[in-house]
């Protein structure tokens, strides 16, 4: 099944503009704007309008951090409309407990679900394709299933191939096609809820790298160039909202741990996937410019990497 039908089916079932259509339109507009700004030089009105905002919520309990960050972005109602389907992609990749900071904080995930529910979402799915296994163990140890289901979501470990469909990535340079979560095409809203960790292969794993759990065959990414594949994927499937969990971050032995952790008590949120990662890299004292996949994603137009061009709002 090609990408066209993935979109086609999604649009058929709703009849209005789909999330993907919107993203493509917005991206096109964004590209046009950035092209314009390059022509007209710095400080143009167009550039100011396109300047991405990253909200950093601090010094609260995890659930409150999420609420404060989303409120600062205009509230969940801005992203999720009544009757829409929402796909939430946390990191449930490893059989580790929340305190090891290898998987997204369960309270953060549950609060995102709660906000979506309050905004009137008709279906909320929390999905990830774990590296570790068995799925039942990963779910149990991560502690996400209980709170998220209580908040009104369905938590699904996406191990079975039936949950994926083959999609060709048109703008990709390395990842020409992939088996992608069907729900990514079907959902109206795609929310990425990663955790911030160091990573031995990609230096850091933040929002963009977290999207790797939305495909069936990750091995192909390693074979055809990991950094470029991450950039390709985030360009093709940008999340509508990124809510990055930095309540506790993993500083060593990432991505699986256990390693040294630090309690940052932060949630970083935004709509620009690269900008959120660029800011979050600074939590580790690293420059996003030095992180291969973020540099490539920026080059492909997936988002802003230069911190001086990102508006950071502290709440």
């Amino acid at each position: 099944m090609d990408q066209g039908s993935l979109h086609g089916k999604a649009s058929m079932s709703r009849g209005s503009m789909t999330r993907r259509d919107f993203m493509q339109w917005a991206l096109g507009a964004g590209l046009a704007v950035s092209g314009l700004s390059e022509l007209s030089g710095k400080g143009s009105a167009a550039e100011a309008a396109a300047q991405p905002t990253v909200v950093v919520a601090s010094a609260k309990k995890p659930a409150e951090l999420v609420r404060a960050a989303v409120d600062a972005l205009g509230g969940m109602g801005k992203f999720v409309k009544r009757g829409q389907r929402v796909l939430i992609k946390p990191n449930i990749g490893w059989a580790r407990k929340p305190e090891h900071a290898a998987t997204t904080n369960p309270e953060v995930v549950a609060e995102v679900v709660r906000l979506c529910k309050a905004a009137g979402a008709r279906e909320i799915k929390v999905m990830d394709h774990a590296v570790d296994g068995p799925d039942s163990l990963v779910l149990k140890m991560s502690g996400i299933k209980g709170p998220a289901e209580k908040a009104g979501a369905r938590v699904i470990m996406a191990s079975s191939a039936g949950l994926y469909e083959r999609v060709s990535l048109r703008r990709a340079k390395a990842l020409k096609s992939a088996d992608v979560l069907r729900d990514l095409g079907r959902a109206d809203v795609f929310i990425n809820v990663p955790i911030a960790k160091v990573h031995n292969a990609t230096a850091l794993t933040l929002g963009c790298k977290n999207l790797m759990g939305a495909v069936l065959d990750r091995g192909a990414w390693h074979q055809s160039g990991l950094d470029q594949c991450i950039a390709d994927f985030v360009t093709e499937f940008p999340p509508d909202l990124v809510i990055l969990d930095a309540v506790r971050i993993l500083l060593t032995n990432g991505p699986k741990g256990p390693g040294r952790t630090e309690d940052k008590r932060l949630v970083v949120a935004g709509t620009d996937p690269v900008a959120v990662d660029a800011y979050s890299a600074s939590l580790f004292g690293r420059s996003a410019e030095k992180i291969g996949h973020l540099k490539l994603a920026h080059a492909m137009g997936a988002g802003e990497i230069d911190l001086s061009r990102i508006r950071v709002k502290n709440v």
Partner: protein, 559 residues
């Protein structure tokens, strides 16, 4: 009255079979119950005897579990066979599939003594020492026997069939259903009807609870199916052919039941209508209905239920009845049975298994590179003899990693569990295989101990590794390693490349499992670092030492 007893027996059979299936289904990780899910295997006196005789030691948990069946047999003879045995019930249920109509019981082959010879041959294998070796090796291990009981024990045979055949088939069925329901849930029609959508969700959730992450399969499944199918299909030649002629457990219980005070008595009302003779499942009643063979009778009481004159009754005490308690063995056949036992023990030695366990003080030599045993396994000699190939460990293994050995350990270890990392890995917090092993061939170890229970050692093939050979960014093995036994060696251009720390690596196989290089991983686990012949303390000390020292140590300490 005896019709009721027969009905009670049938209910009992079905209940025990249901319990057997339920316990089998409950053998999962994470565990769902505290009941020992291998209860039927533990309660099997033949398995207990085999483990204790061949390992030359008393194993008390096995004594306690097997005791009820022993006591039952002392009082009621082979009532276990008639009322409890799930294999017997399975054979009863399949009887009609194979029965030839109109065949008279007298046409059944008169082989009922064969099962006693089978039992004798098996006992011979248990008594024979497993191997002869040099004085240096002798000190390492007790002299153990080489039990072949797995070939014939009915409970082991049935559990094995359930695992190797039943599990993949049932998982296949449930997995297909799950996929179909998943397909529906994405259909536009369903998506547009929230009610349908909501109705499908619990079905999907339910199916995902009983279905494994991925398809389950086992090598040797077909062989196991053929053996089981053969046992059931023998019903063509006689009812309960297996139970009356071949089953060594039945023979053992029959011998125990010789002292049973409970007997069948036939009164003068008998008209020699021969209905009981025709009805008897195991051919225990002779041509003269007043006489029957005690060690053959499975106490099913069908004879009493069908007797039109109500001439047959159950009595106790010393009253003289027509029961013949003798097991008459032919001396010539007896010698043959001993000979068969000797051969069963000796024949595997002609194969490549003969050199499997040449242990010097610290290193196991000349074994298959892929003979990787589950965590907590006994030393190879003891393991092979204690394992009854029931397959419970393979059933419970959540990643499908445990597979029956085919060629890895020679003929002697046919069907014993080995870890095949490309199929699955040993999950870090799981120690279920040890907990469900009925004979203790896999000893229980805690998840904490798994950091120093060395199964093998991983080794990177640098000529095929994406990072080493091609400069790709890939250290999935290093990311996934639960024990942090792999570190990244960063080259001049910043590409991390995996290096294994031989002493930290316990050989769980996660790295080999996740390696994206096909078809075999570029990192593979070999039995190199298998340290089962060390004590747990020795292994723990090695691990502690390894953590203090740096990397790159030899997997052959002491050489």
């Amino acid at each position: 009255m005896y019709k009721r007893l027969r009905a009670a027996r049938r209910v009992s059979q079905l209940l025990f079979l249901a319990a057997f299936v339920l316990l089998f289904a409950l053998a999962t990780f994470p565990p769902k119950t505290r009941i020992p899910v291998d209860l039927f295997l533990r309660a099997d006196p033949l398995i207990a005897m085999s483990a204790m005789v061949s390992l030359r030691k008393l194993i008390f948990p096995l004594v306690w579990y097997a005791l009820p069946v022993v006591v039952l047999s002392l009082f009621l003879g082979r009532a276990f066979c008639g009322w409890i045995c799930p294999m017997g019930t399975t054979i009863d249920l399949c009887e009609r599939l194979f029965r030839i109509r109109g065949r008279r019981p007298s046409q059944a082959p008169p082989w009922s003594r064969a099962k006693f010879y089978v039992l004798i041959a098996l006992v011979v294998t248990m008594l024979l020492p497993a191997a002869h070796r040099s004085a240096k090796e002798w000190a390492l291990t007790d002299t153990v026997g080489v039990s072949a009981v797995y070939l014939m024990d009915p409970i082991a045979l049935l559990t094995r069939t359930f695992t190797l055949v039943g599990l993949p088939v049932s998982q296949w069925g449930m997995g297909m259903t799950r996929d179909v329901v998943t397909e529906w849930s994405y259909a536009t029609f369903v998506g547009d009807h929230p009610l349908l959508d909501r109705a499908l969700a619990p079905i999907q959730t339910g199916l995902s609870m009983v279905t494994r992450d991925s398809a389950v399969y086992f090598r040797l499944g077909l062989l196991s199916f053929v053996v089981f199918g053969g046992v059931v299909a023998l019903g063509r030649y006689a009812r309960r052919f297996w139970c009356r002629n071949l089953c060594p457990l039945g023979a053992l219980l029959g011998v125990l039941g010789k002292v049973s005070p409970v007997k069948l008595a036939v009164s003068e009302k008998c008209t020699r209508c021969m209905r009981c003779v025709n009805e008897c499942k195991v051919g225990a009643i002779s041509e003269d209905p007043h006489e029957y063979s005690g060690p053959e009778c499975i106490a099913c009481y069908s004879c009493a239920a069908v007797c039109p004159e109500k001439a047959i009754s159950v009595t106790t005490g010393s009253r003289d009845t027509g029961r013949d308690g003798q097991v008459r063995l032919d001396r010539r056949r007896l010698l043959e049975a001993v000979g068969v036992g000797l051969m069963a023990a000796a024949l595997p030695k002609v194969g490549w298994g003969a050199r499997r366990s040449q242990a010097t003080l610290k290193v196991l030599k000349a074994r298959s590179a892929h003979l990787i045993r589950p965590p907590g396994s006994l030393g190879e000699d003891q393991f092979v003899t204690a394992c009854v190939r029931c397959g419970e460990c393979m059933k419970v293994c959540p990643t499908n990693a445990l597979q029956p050995a085919f060629g890895e350990g020679g003929l002697e270890s046919l069907g014993t569990p080995i870890l095949v990392p490309r199929i699955g890995y040993c999950a870090q917090s799981c120690t279920q295989c040890g907990r469900v092993c009925p004979t203790g061939a896999i000893e229980v170890c805690s998840p904490e101990e798994k950091t120093h229970v060395y199964l093998g050692t991983a080794s990177v093939d640098r000529s095929r590794c994406l990072a080493w050979a091609f400069g790709n960014t890939c250290v999935v093995c290093q990311e996934s390693c639960p024990y942090q036994a792999i570190h990244a060696d960063v080259d001049d251009s910043g590409v991390p490349r995996p290096v294994v720390d031989d002493w930290i690596c316990v050989g769980c196989g996660m790295c080999e499992h996740v390696c994206p290089v096909e078809p075999d991983g570029a990192i593979r686990v070999y039995s190199t670092g298998d340290r089962r012949h060390w004590t747990r303390d020795e292994q723990r000390e090695l691990r502690e030492q390894a953590e203090q020292e740096s990397t790159g140590a030899s997997p052959y300490p002491g050489l």
